[in-house]
């Protein structure tokens, strides 16, 4: 009973809000939406403690030997992801009641949010690749609708479209992955695939190909190197949307897909290596860009891309548990940071440039407190969540089979940069004097409560997956997810786990103090910019990646389409079709010239005809 309720609640919430009631005030719409989210969260909790009957099954379509069923799994991995999605989702629903209070028809926003939750849950709970694909595209659609929520501004609509198209490219790859999987395993069900992978051996090249295309799908959705350009632009949507979709849930779908198909990726070794390389390079690139961004949400967006890069690094190195653990902790503190920045923007009436803020410590005390906890967590300072999950990733990178140490060093650099830019953002917004012209005020209670809960989550989440070595707490997560993700691979790297942890902590502390030193005092905040001037411009313009895409892909494609639409189709193909009619007209106008109207010309033709006749009749006779 619980599973259908889990899905039905947000769907009904969306329909009630969007089509039936369409309540006038944001408050009423928000309340309905939040109730729907909370019921699905409750049903997840109930599902865990009192699991009901087996998976709920229903055939979608059967064609020849291909039968596709809708069925919902209830294994630990799904449960954990559902808990994270619905938990943080409901918090964000409550938060957005306050955030969207002044919007005039906010029911549309809440309907989309609920519909997004429904699609995300379909993605997570489905037991077949195709069911997941349905959720996959549904989530892409909702992010399109939500990013383009304020559609009056054409750029926001364009950002939404860009997000959808880039996701669609990833989905195309995903589709090909599904076809290859079906060709290999003759089934799309995860459990059956896992079983087949254990029992039979398949052509490794095909497995790698399938894994590669599935990874392209993950790349599109979780914003990795070639297809990450849509995430920073997706900040055009309202901040709670960025928190929910572009930090906590949707972007982690790629990681969930790879964890769900871990059997395949374990076997496809060179694709995993490729994933690790892509992961670490994305992390490094976006961390560098984040260091010099002006807009607070852009910084957080790039930090999300870099954290995702780290997760993919873990996946590449085979540490699926580390990735999922980081997904969970990251969901907490990134959602916290986004919502914190949301309340800052809400307070400064839409101002997003950190250089025009500052000194908000006094005016927004609780936002300041929660934001600080979030910053410390993401920076990786020991007691908080960020430290444990990031360290698990770094350690797994260290013990990876190939290039272990290089991945570890690069990972360390990424976490150093992360700590640096987060403290930069934190210092510029909250310390020093207020540089803006607005008069910020503390956000209402509905926005602060979720912040406090998330802050608490960021502190506690780390303890769930504490590594054994510390002998403080057993690794609950490892025990919980063992059946799905397989054993934690015990490797040995250059350093032992404790020493690696120590090095990571030291680097985080150095980065924080460096950041604090520079950005707490206004006069010193310019210096880092001056030291690495050439790099600053490069980072600020995001390595000109968008412009590069525009030049290399968008412009030639537009030119090609324009060529076809304006020249090739109307003139060449249509020309060929209209050719006979034009030829007929041309011939006609030629013959008209013969009709001079003067009688003698006709007589001339007459005599000429006579002559020809005689010639024909008297062929033999030569004149």
């Amino acid at each position: 009973m619980m599973m259908p309720l889990l899905l039905a609640a947000p769907l009904i919430g969306a329909i009630v809000n969007g089509l039936i009631l369409r309540p006038a005030t944001a408050k009423r719409a928000g309340v309905i939406a939040s109730i729907a989210a909370l019921t699905s969260f409750a049903s997840v909790m109930v599902q865990h403690f009192a699991p009901d009957a087996g998976p709920f099954e229903w055939t979608w379509f059967t064609v020849g030997e291909l039968t596709v069923k809708w069925s919902f799994a209830s294994d630990p991995l799904t449960w954990m992801m559902c808990a994270v999605v619905t938990g943080i989702g409901s918090l964000i629903h409550i938060y957005s009641i306050g955030y969207m209070s002044h919007e005039h028809n906010a029911y549309r926003y809440f309907a989309y949010l609920n519909f997004f939750l429904f699609n995300m849950l379909v993605l997570i709970t489905s037991t077949s690749l195709l069911g997941m694909f349905v959720g996959w595209e549904g989530v892409g659609l909702c992010s399109y609708l939500l990013i383009g929520y304020w559609f009056e501004d054409i750029n926001k609509a364009k950002a939404g479209m860009k997000a959808f198209i880039v996701n669609r490219i990833g989905d195309a790859g995903f589709l090909i992955g599904i076809f290859i999987c079906y060709q290999l395993f003759k089934t799309l069900n995860f459990a059956e695939i896992a079983k087949l992978l254990d029992t039979q051996t398949f052509d490794v090249r095909m497995l790698n190909l399938a894994a590669f295309f599935l990874f392209i799908g993950a790349m599109g959705k979780s914003a990795q190197i070639p297809l990450y350009v849509w995430l920073p632009d997706a900040m055009a949507g309202p901040t709670p949307v960025s928190a929910l979709i572009h930090a906590a849930t949707m972007v982690t779908a790629g990681i969930y897909l790879i964890c769900r198909m871990n059997g395949l990726f374990l076997v496809a070794q060179d694709t995993s290596l490729f994933i690790a390389i892509i992961g670490i390079s994305t992390a490094l690139l976006s961390a560098l860009i984040a260091t010099s961004q002006r807009d607070i949400k852009k910084v957080l967006a790039y930090s999300t891309v870099s954290q995702l890069g780290l997760m993919f690094l873990a996946l590449g190195c085979g540490a699926y548990l580390a990735a999922i653990f980081h997904v969970m902790t990251h969901a907490f503190f990134k959602a916290l940071l986004f919502l914190g920045s949301g309340s800052v923007i809400h307070a400064c009436e839409g101002e997003q440039d950190i250089w025009k803020m500052g000194g908000l410590k006094k005016k927004l005390p609780s936002t300041f407190l929660t934001f600080t906890i979030g910053t410390i967590a993401i920076a990786g300072i020991p007691p908080l969540a960020g430290f444990f999950s990031k360290d698990m990733i770094l350690y797994s990178a260290l013990t990876a089979k190939s290039y272990g140490t290089t991945f570890w060093i690069l990972g360390l650099l990424v976490s150093f940069l992360t700590a640096f830019y987060m403290v930069r953002v934190w210092a510029l917004t909250f310390l020093g004097e207020y540089r803006g012209d607005k008069h910020p005020h503390e956000s209402p209670a509905t926005m602060l409560i979720p912040l406090y809960i998330l802050a608490f989550g960021s502190i506690v989440a780390g303890f769930l997956g504490m590594p054994e070595g510390l002998h403080l707490l057993p690794n609950y997560l490892e025990a919980f997810l063992h059946p799905v993700l397989g054993p934690l691979v015990e490797g040995h790297g250059a350093l032992s786990e404790e020493r690696a942890m120590a090095v990571a902590t030291v680097s985080a502390i150095i980065a924080c103090s460096l950041g604090f030193y520079f950005y707490s005092k206004p006069e010193r905040s310019e210096t880092p910019g001056k030291i690495l001037v050439p790099f600053k411009t490069v980072f600020e313009n995001k390595f000109w990646v968008d412009e590069l895409y525009g030049l290399v892909i968008v412009k030639p494609f537009d030119a090609l389409c324009a060529f076809f639409a304006k020249f090739f189709d109307p003139n060449i193909i249509d020309g060929l079709v209209l050719l006979p009619s034009k030829a007929a007209q041309g011939m006609g106008s030629l013959l008209v010239l013969l009709q001079t109207g003067i009688v003698q010309t006709y007589l001339l033709f007459f005599v000429f005809g006579l002559l020809v006749l005689f010639m024909v009749l008297l062929k033999g006779v030569v004149l």
Binding site: F61, T62, V63, E137, L141, A157, I165, A172, F179, A565
Partner: protein, 508 residues
């Protein structure tokens, strides 16, 4: 009313309605036509119930009336797995097309009788089991369509209708040539003239090369294929579609997109492939290439269009490319996918044209620059618009996806590179659909008239709602509909390709 007369009523009821329509006044003829087509729904429901899905391969509810005895031609109607979904689609779309053209100003009586004649001609084409009868209905179908575009169209309607007529008619001339050849062969090979399609499929051809290395079978196939390729429209022969759509009235566009385009693919399945299987097997690769080019080309050209209806017309070229690709992949998944895609495309593009028609009735312009930011002004319309756009893009959960997915599976099985290339078609499909949505709904409200647009009226809701329900129904639970004609598609390839070079192993 016995089962066998059901099909006869299916064809003749609208014809009688058309005649009666002449006598009524303009006002009355509208509602009368609606009633007749709703009766069509009832009949279609009976057919849906009466159709025995167990043996969908044989012709059911066969109605036979000797017509030209000397030539062995009979007025034969029958329905089987291949024509079943398309007949249902035709009967479904008729009342919607009529509802969409309620506020036409001039000659309403003749407008409605044109629709009804078109309805009976289309149903007849799908149900005909006799080659000559099929050809008669095939040509009869053109005439009302020409009148619809030519008389009630917009600015350059005459040019468009003449182009449409000549283009399609030229194609059907080639088909006629093949029919004559086959007809003469029936006398030679089977003793006496007969129009039965079943008899035609049993003919075998002399392998002698006629010219350019084409033997008799290839020529017959080409005759049929070109006529159907024009109708589909396949890539190089598609230029009549945008003109016809842009100038056609809303109802005309709906029927043109929803049903007339399916004649081509239906013809391929019913005539071209069973009659000349070897030729099809040989040509299937280049037909597939044409289809793939059609998919990508249609999407690219649609992306740059300034006129809404032209964009949707080119999108139809792209969607129909999927159907043909499904057929060319020569396996059950591809074929079922293409059959589903035909029905889905009919519903989705019908709804899309309905919406574009609504805008045209309010603003009398189809250009994008006249619209912008409608989402704030007409919320219900924009919800419908985005909903149908999603279905046209093939977002899973709606009907577009199931058909496309199966075509991809079939194409992947037949030839992997085909699937790799066409999957990018999905991205381009999303691109032009979203550009259309962006240009009409989003952005600031550019010109003033848009502010006073009124939202969807009751009549329009009545027209669009059944389509939306079907979009969701076919998207989530296509199985009940699929199981009806599934069996015939499974055995289709087994039967038709049995006679071909199966032993030569050309079929994978």
């Amino acid at each position: 009313m016995g089962m066998e007369h059901l099909l006869l009523w299916l064809v003749t009821l609208p014809l009688i309605g058309a005649l009666v329509c002449f006598a009524l006044t303009d006002e009355l003829s509208k509602y009368f036509a609606l009633v007749v087509t709703l009766l069509g729904w009832v009949l279609a429901f009976f057919v849906y119930q009466g159709f025995d899905s167990a043996h969908a391969t044989q012709l059911q509810m066969v109605f036979n009336y000797p017509w030209l005895n000397s030539m062995g031609v009979s007025f034969g109607l029958g329905i089987d797995g291949i024509s079943f979904p398309l007949v249902i689609l035709t009967k479904l779309m008729m009342p919607i097309a009529i509802l969409a053209s309620f506020n036409e100003k001039k000659f309403m009586r003749f407008f409605m009788s044109c629709y009804l004649v078109l309805d009976s001609a289309m149903t007849g084409t799908f149900l005909a089991t006799d080659m000559v009868l099929f050809y008669v209905f095939w040509e009869l179908m053109l005439i009302p369509m020409i009148l619809l575009i030519g008389v009630w169209g917009s600015e350059q309607r005459v040019f468009a209708s003449v182009k449409f007529f000549i283009y399609t008619f030229a194609g059907s001339m080639l088909m006629l040539a093949s029919i004559f050849y086959l007809f003469s062969q029936t006398h030679v090979q089977l003793g006496q003239y007969t129009g039965e399609i079943a008899a035609f499929t049993k003919l075998n051809f002399s392998p002698v090369e006629v010219f350019w290395g084409l033997n008799a079978e290839k020529l017959v196939f080409l005759g049929f294929f070109i006529a159907f390729a024009i109708k589909v429209p396949l890539f190089p022969l598609h230029t009549w579609l945008p003109d016809a759509h842009v100038q056609a009235p809303t109802g005309g566009s709906i029927l043109l997109a929803a049903v007339l385009l399916k004649m081509g693919t239906y013809g391929l399945l019913r005539f071209a492939i069973p009659i000349a299987p070897n030729a099809f097997v040989e040509f299937s690769t280049c037909v597939a290439y044409l289809a793939i080019i059609g998919i990508l080309y249609g999407a690219w050209v649609a992306y740059q269009q300034k006129d809404m209806k032209k964009l949707v017309a080119y999108s139809s070229v792209s969607h129909l490319g999927f159907c043909v690709l499904g057929i060319c992949s020569m396996n059950t998944k591809g074929l079922t996918g293409s059959m589903l895609q035909m029905v889905n495309h009919g519903i989705t593009t019908g709804a899309l044209f309905l919406l574009v028609g609504m805008l045209y009735e309010r603003r009398h312009t189809k250009k994008f620059e006249d619209y912008g930011g409608l989402a704030a002004i007409v919320p219900y319309f924009s919800i419908l618009f985005v909903f149908v756009a999603c279905s046209s893009m093939g977002v899973p959960g709606l009907n577009g996806f199931v058909g496309e997915f199966l075509v991809f599976m079939g194409a992947f099985e037949a030839n992997q590179t085909w699937a790799f290339v066409t999957v990018t078609g999905v991205v381009f499909g999303a691109l032009y659909t979203l550009t259309m949505v962006k240009k009409t709904l989003f952005g600031p409200v550019t010109n003033a008239e848009n502010r006073s647009l009124k939202d969807v009226t009751l009549k329009e809701w009545a027209a669009i709602l059944p389509l939306c329900i079907l979009i969701v129904y076919l998207g989530l639970a296509p199985n009940s509909f699929l199981s009806k004609f599934n069996q015939s598609l499974d055995t289709y390839w087994a039967e038709t390709l049995k006679k071909t070079a199966l032993d030569a192993g050309t079929v994978k």
